[in-house]
Subunit: 150 residues, 2 copies
DNA sequence: GTACCTGCAAAACCTTTGCAGCATC
DNA sequence: GATGCTGCAAAGGTTTTGCAGGTAC
């Protein structure tokens, strides 16, 4: 589940690019750069995070980043998640990977949390009971991080 | 868990008001109205939802609503949750109650989902492993609702 | 050559804050 | 009477869109 070390990054990037191509997106510098940043990120990134990242700053406009994440989200290559801040966050969606997050209510720090998420099994139940399709879930824990205690 | 019928609304309101008072808030018309709307709501409400609700529209300014939800959230009487839209949503926090939500990725409809949430037990584990305190969680399911399928 | 992308700039949207007057305790 | 709340209005920050030009296919 959480056993994809750095080494996979290039592999993921290749996969993401060909998938993007297959879904009708053009391969532009901005696309490459954005996918790379997102794949190498350890945490979800906001639009601002992305636009200001080393990989994208000076390489493309905020509006382009915005339109890219929107398209990639629509295609299901990345996912927009909530996380409480005013802005949206984006994560790369690699099949079979899922992360839950732990967020400090005081300083806003975001940490991925490693656990055998018991919710995956519930998705089917929810699907059956509700009639919804294409179900996925988001799980976040909120609390006061060690640095902010006391 | 999910056995608090409408009848409890008045009881909850009384409780919420005295708790607000105890925590140092003044009892104003706006406070009463806001708590009532939130307690009677079946779904989480955004700032706009609240301000435009029958209970609050014409009764108080948006800024007042904003400041009220902020205070109530700080006091732990209501809770701000994410839910994906650009705006924050608020729910009344009654001790012992917890809701997870099912949100349509197409039309944005929000439904509370009834299930024995298995995440509560994980909170302790997360707390132990991470050193975070005051942990709570949010769980949302996303999918395409029956009306939006096809 | 065409359809799609990008940059720049402006428009839209909410949220957030300052301040003077009013209500609660 | 003092403190905290409220309204109004303005400021802040992101997100979103229009349009002309450039680029991938």
């Amino acid at each position: 589940m959480h056993n994809h070390p750095e080494a996979d990054a290039d592999e993921k990037l290749d996969w993401a690019i060909s998938r993007s191509r297959a879904l009708g997106l053009r391969r532009t510098k901005a696309l490459d750069a954005l996918l790379r940043v997102l794949i190498e990120a350890k945490n979800p990134l906001s639009l601002a995070d992305l636009a200001d990242s080393n990989g994208l700053r000076d390489r493309c406009d905020r509006a382009t980043v915005y339109r890219l994440v929107t398209r990639l989200d629509e295609k299901g290559i990345i996912r927009r998640i909530g996380l409480h801040e005013r802005s949206s966050y984006y994560v790369f969606l690699f099949p079979g990977e899922h992360h839950d997050y732990l967020i400090c209510t005081d300083c806003g720090k975001i940490d991925p949390v490693d656990l055998d998420c018991p919710v995956a099994e519930l998705e089917e139940e929810v699907m059956r009971k509700s009639g919804y399709k294409q179900i996925y879930h988001e799980l976040e824990f909120f609390g006061q991080c060690p640095d902010c205690i006391g």
